[in-house]
């Protein structure tokens, strides 16, 4: 049975303890629908792990394992080789569902090692741009100028002073046959990409943008709207790199991007860019980089890179 082109069956049950409006929970529903019953889910410590397995209850309806915070790619490596030994290689989907803290930072080395070795698994990062489970601390994925508890905006601070790490391109450089960015605001696109990543041989990666209304200080009902604006303004463009070749899905026109201000002003984590004084200099720089990034992606696509 399908609704909106997506399977109706749920593999992630309600009753989980995630916040109202949690974008990551929406992400998990999409991922598990794409992975299906014939999957093993590996999850590191994080919001989704903690809210979905409050012993003695579990939200999961498929095999699921949590080891530690940084080693989900290594655990997935062990599982993939064990399945090979049991003669079940490539017959069961191994899907890692990890937060950005676990992927961009503490688990980064192990993620690289697993990709270098070429195990057949899919790594999906639900990217809510900070360590949310521990109370909204800055991660390598936190965007420039965002305020978090360890990079708060203040008289001497713009918030996070570094730009977001480009994990997607780094993993593409490992030779992965398929990496992509996706967003919960575009569920069919995300579903297609996750399914493609799962069906592609070898290690594959999808960076799935998932709003955290609690951490971004956004009203819970705006979770999808914010994620949509991230794409429409070009802050989080949706693209795929298949066998080393880029394809930019959206937005495709760098001159017709929605102004980044529309995205920033509805989020509490950027409110210091508007009050007490509007930081036009910062907003302009962010706008410039966003436009340049889209132009670069289009160039890659044009020249078959």
């Amino acid at each position: 049975m399908a609704i909106l082109g997506l399977p109706e069956e749920e593999f992630f049950s309600y009753g989980h303890r995630a916040c109202a409006g949690c974008g990551a929970a929406i992400a998990i529903r999409l991922i598990t629908k794409a992975a299906g019953k014939n999957s093993i889910i590996v999850e590191p410590t994080g919001c989704m792990e903690v809210t979905s397995t409050p012993y003695p209850e579990t939200s999961w309806k498929v095999p699921w394992i949590h080891g530690a915070f940084e080693n989900s790619a290594a655990i997935a490596s062990g599982i993939s080789e064990a399945l090979k030994y049991l003669g079940k290689a490539d017959k069961i989907n191994i899907v890692v569902i990890a937060g950005d803290g676990a992927s961009y930072d503490i688990g980064f080395g192990h993620l690289s090692g697993a990709f270098e070795r070429g195990h057949n698994f899919t790594y999906i990062c639900y990217d809510n741009e900070a360590y949310m489970n521990t109370g909204i601390q800055r991660s390598g994925s936190t965007p420039y100028a965002a305020s978090t508890t360890t990079s708060p905006a203040g008289k001497m601070s713009i918030g996070k002073a570094e730009w977001k790490k480009d994990i997607t391109h780094i993993l593409a450089a490992h030779g992965s046959r398929y990496v992509a960015t996706a967003s919960i605001a575009y569920p069919n696109d995300a579903f297609r990409k996750i399914k493609k990543a799962i069906e592609t041989k070898g290690p594959t990666f999808v960076n799935l943008f998932a709003t955290c209304p609690t951490g971004w200080r956004v009203p819970s009902e705006k979770s999808i709207e914010v994620a949509r604006l991230a794409v429409e303004t070009g802050v989080f463009p949706l693209y795929e790199i298949e066998n080393g070749k880029h394809k930019l899905n959206r937005p495709r026109d760098p001159d017709k991007l929605k102004p980044i201000e529309e995205y920033l002003k509805i989020q509490g984590r950027f409110k210091h860019l508007f009050k007490p004084k509007k930081r036009t200099d910062v907003i302009e720089e962010m706008q410039k980089r966003v436009k340049e990034n889209i132009e670069m992606l289009l160039r890659y696509e044009k020249y078959g890179l």
Partner: protein, 100 residues
């Protein structure tokens, strides 16, 4: 292959399992998170066109398709986040304060 019953142990009057193993049976459904709600979504079934947008965006996955193709939330689990109301293309869902 795994005899789940044989994994159960009793400690301090509490039932636990070897290695904290659980059956992946979606048992969090025991907790009716609907009690968290401050606002509730009220669905207008005249306006509803059965597109499924509310269904796909519900973080709880507690909106179900009815026999008549329209969608309806399970108030036992709805946390009242308001995403369904915000995203509904025909504005068929209204958020109202929960009565206590």
């Amino acid at each position: 292959m795994i005899n789940f019953e044989s994994l159960k142990l009793k400690v301090n009057e509490k039932e636990v399992t070897i290695g904290a193993i659980l059956k992946s049976d979606g048992s969090t459904a025991k907790l009716k998170t609907g009690s968290w709600r401050v606002r509730r979504p009220v669905f207008n079934f005249e306006k509803c066109v059965g597109c499924g947008t509310c269904w796909v965006f519900c973080p709880e996955g507690c909106i179900k398709k009815r026999e008549d193709g329209k969608f309806e939330p399970d108030y036992d689990y709805c946390k009242g986040c308001g995403i369904c109301s915000e995203e509904c293309p025909v504005k068929a869902i209204e958020m109202v304060m929960e009565e206590r």
